[in-house]
Amino acid sequence: MLFRFSTSAIDAAAARLELRDAGAGGFVSFEGWVREHNEGREVTRLEYEAFQELAVKEGDRIVSEALRRFPIKHALCIHRVGALCLSDMAVWVGVSAVHRGEAFDACRYIIDEVKHRAPIWKKEHYRSGDSGWVNCEHCAAAPHRSHDAWAHDAGR
């Protein structure tokens, strides 16, 4: 499996071992962490929700694409679902390769595509007490804007 979800803290040390290869000369990983602010708001905690059936398929397709596009050895992506606190790891991507350049490129490709394509949603809870689904709420809060403006917001 090239992409999976975890309902508990991601064990990066264990995940890294899955990518070991005697032919690999390097390993690159990316960790996404929960940040205390977003778009000027103070964030206190997060919830991730996913349409797991399709997200696993799409995640698998993304990592497969990386394995085709870049001459790398192995790649894996693990994404959290459920409630997360500040500084928790939300996503982990690891790539092993013969040379470092391809490993960096493939790792970047995977995290960028997962953010744009996998059906995963993030609800932010703010210090002010309210909360919102990222990329969904303030489009919805401005119902009189034109379709073009909505599409622009949605594609961010």
Binding site: A50, R61, W121, C136, A154
Partner: protein, 298 residues
């Protein structure tokens, strides 16, 4: 638009039937001959796909052969070999063991074909999944299939599920039933004899339009799942509904009015039966639909 040639797949091992499936006879004719003749009524050229070990078989050798030219086995290799042999041609792929397949179904498939996608296929009446062995495969599918096989893939159905083909609702429930065991063969024989008049009459554009029209006005049950903002706005994570909506676009309009969704359809994607879908694809009874609001993973 690339021309369409016909490729009848007859390379299977027929292990469950315990005899060569291509040679099974219905109404005095082998099903291989029936399938080739059916394809020839709709395509300029028709070939029979075989493994190298089958080229001398007299039943198969009576037709133009297209021999597997790539490593591996199974239908995926047959399809790839056709696409490799004629890179500018699309292929009407049909398995040789579909005794209920009608001219109407093939005509409908070719009419509905979308050459911009990798394939146009019927979906199974039983599970809604694409039927790769009664489908039009476009030239661009060649390279995509090569990539899929290079990553260890071997199942044409799984390939289609990952690559969003155009999917068509079957014209009738058993049109694509295939015949794998002696018991199924006996049952198919009986059904074909009983339905002789009906099957032969079900050809021509009028019958096709009739079938499509009927589909459009049917009220059907659908399973809807909601996530994130839409789950909160709907006040539930799933529901079963009865609807006359013909497409996901119609369905979103209906459910949006019912639940007061604030997102516009242009902001969403939609998935049907666990795979991304077109907004205009025809819905069928039992389909599972998920509307996908703007995502925010990572």
């Amino acid at each position: 638009m690339p021309p369409v040639y016909g490729l009848v797949l007859a390379g299977g091992a027929s292990t469950r039937m315990q005899r060569d499936k291509a040679a099974l006879r219905y109404r005095g004719k082998s099903q291989l001959d029936r399938a080739v003749e059916l394809a020839a009524r709709h395509c300029r050229r028709v070939f029979v796909s075989v493994r190298p070990s089958q080229v001398a078989d007299p039943l198969r050798a009576a037709h133009p052969l297209l021999v597997d030219s790539l490593p591996g086995e199974g239908p995926l290799v047959g399809i790839r070999s056709g696409l490799a042999a004629f890179p500018d041609v699309a292929w009407l792929i049909i398995a040789c063991d579909l005794p209920f397949l009608s001219d109407a179904a093939v005509e409908y498939l070719l009419q509905q074909r979308d050459p911009r996608l990798l394939a146009t296929a019927f979906k199974s009446a039983h599970d809604g999944l694409p039927e790769p062995l009664c489908a039009v495969w476009e030239p661009a599918a060649g390279a995509a299939l090569a990539g899929y096989q290079a990553t260890g893939g071997h199942c044409p159905r799984k390939f289609l599920m990952r690559n969003a083909p155009k999917l068509l609702a079957p014209l009738d429930e058993r049109a694509l039933d295939n015949i794998n065991t002696p018991a199924e063969y006996a049952a198919a024989h009986a059904a074909l004899d009983a339905a002789r008049g009906v099957l032969d009459a079900a050809t021509g554009a009028d019958a096709v339009r009739g079938a499509i029209g009927l589909h459009d006005v049917d009220v059907m049950k659908l399973q809807i799942q909601y996530f994130a903002l839409m789950r909160e706005q709907a006040g539930r994570s799933e529901e079963t509904i009865e609807t006359a909506a013909a497409t996901p676009a119609d369905l979103y309009g209906e459910l949006s009015a019912r639940h007061g969704f604030t997102l516009h359809r242009e902001q969403l994607k939609v998935a049907v039966n666990g795979e991304f879908s077109d907004w205009s694809r025809p819905l069928a009874a039992g389909d599972a639909v998920v509307f996908i609001p703007p995502v925010a993973g990572g």
